[in-house]
């Protein structure tokens, strides 16, 4: 099957947006590659892709290789979204199973991207509850749970606000860890398990997604992307630790 140059051009534009959207929202490399080539093959095209942390190199060709198109595309820094991960993977199967045309694909892609996200106040509340129950799992008492609940909500709200303003990730993590643990240190004033409260208050900052994606990527042979994900995760964890240690430094003499 041969395709015209414009067709390949348009398809490349779509798949570039699709693949970078997946990579930007925290999907591990091999899934992005598989999803993209699945869509390509449903169109009778082949693609080859090289991924890095900040950009991808994408080559699209028809099966006869009469037309080739190569582009370098930047990966946007999107917030992590499991919704995109699931729905866009589903879309790639639909493309195969229902033989969708490019217009239909584009339309569904835009619908998925436009889906409303969970309200931020609800996320803040859920994260607060999560950290409070986490505190309980570590043996904190009810006073500590309450302190953790409030300080996590403050810290997470601050994180969302700072991220919204486009401030550097490392600064965001350090500041939110500091503020959350500082608030949690107020447990020292009450008769509560303060140590557990302070320890749990920063745990909402663990970058679980890049950590596990990094491990998956490395084990699947995408060592470079996996390595950079792990380095990123490690730096973010260090930043939270620095924020936490600022609070501990202030209170080190009263802490057990």
């Amino acid at each position: 099957m041969t395709k015209t140059e414009t067709e390949i051009n348009e398809f490349t534009r779509f798949i570039a947006e699709y693949a970078t959207c997946l990579l930007g929202s925290g999907v591990h490399t091999s899934r992005v590659l598989r999803n993209s080539s699945r869509i390509a093959s449903s169109m009778g095209l082949t693609i080859s892709m090289t991924t890095f942390q900040k950009s991808i190199i994408l080559t699209v060709s028809d099966e006869a290789e009469t037309h080739l198109l190569t582009r370098v595309i930047e990966i946007p820094g999107l917030p992590i979204s499991f919704e995109f991960n699931s729905e866009l993977s589903s879309l790639s199967w639909e493309a195969v199973d229902k033989h969708l045309s490019l217009e239909e694909l584009r339309q569904r892609f835009d619908t998925i991207k436009a889906k409303p996200k969970m309200k931020s106040w609800l996320v803040v509340l859920l994260v607060g509850l999560a950290n409070a129950s986490f505190c309980r799992l570590f043996g904190g008492d009810f006073g500590a749970m309450l302190v953790v609940f409030i300080s996590t909500m403050i810290g997470f709200f601050l994180r969302l606000q700072l991220q919204h303003r486009g401030i550097n990730h490392f600064i965001v993590f350090t500041v939110s860890a500091f503020v959350a643990s500082l608030c949690a240190s107020s447990a020292l004033l009450f008769d509560a398990t303060a140590e557990t409260a302070i320890a749990t208050s920063v745990l909402y900052l663990i970058p679980g997604v890049p950590l596990i994606n990094g491990v998956i990527d490395i084990l699947e042979g995408h060592t470079l992307t996996g390595g950079s994900r792990l380095i990123q995760a490690f730096l973010l964890i260090s930043c939270s630790a620095i924020g936490l240690s600022c609070s501990l430094f202030i209170f080190q003499n009263i802490l057990p």
Binding site: N85, S86, A130, F138, Y204, G208, I216
Partner: protein, 165 residues
């Protein structure tokens, strides 16, 4: 004992839902994330309390269980298994050990000149770091192993059954 395990699982479920919400999962995934988190943490609690396993080994078995169940739940919810198991693993992160490492580091800096105290803090920091790192590594590995055992199945979760030709 049974009550303790159930309470433990319930708390982990709440934690899993909250940590999941940060990463914006599809709404239908929440139920499965909660169940997986409860299974994993409950199992680890059981292993550590009755069989006296250490936290790293117990976490490994718990994350194996999470991985196994996520293979099934992924089919039910049409979600990639990473979407289900990453939030479910987070309540098992050994936060207290991580905290103690940081605290010991700060105390080490403060007492650097006192040889005995410094050595104690250094040792405390090191052992806490080792426990934290190995537990997190085994958590990530255990759940991920299933992708390598059953790659075909793990990578076709999002294909809707009704649409199959």
């Amino acid at each position: 004992m049974v009550v303790n395990i159930l309470v433990d699982g319930l708390l982990a479920a709440v934690a899993g839902i909250g940590f999941g919400a940060i990463s914006h999962p599809p709404r239908r995934a929440f139920l499965y994330i909660a169940i997986l988190a409860a299974i994993g943490h409950g199992l680890r609690f059981y292993l550590m309390e009755t069989m006296h396993l250490d936290i790293a080994t117990a976490s490994f078995f718990a994350s194996l269980a999470i991985g196994a169940f996520s293979m099934w739940f992924g089919r039910l919810s049409f979600c990639p298994i990473t979407v289900l198991y990453i939030p479910a693993l987070l309540p098992m992160v050994p936060g207290m050990y991580a905290y103690k490492s940081v605290l010991a580091l700060i105390k080490f800096m403060h007492h650097q000149k006192e040889a005995v105290a410094a050595a104690n803090y250094m040792q405390e920091m090191f052992s806490n770091v080792v426990v934290t790192v190995s537990t997190v590594f085994l958590l990530a590995l255990g759940a991920t192993l299933f992708i390598f055992f059953f790659p075909k199945r793990a990578y076709s979760m999002t294909r809707r059954a009704v649409d199959r030709p």
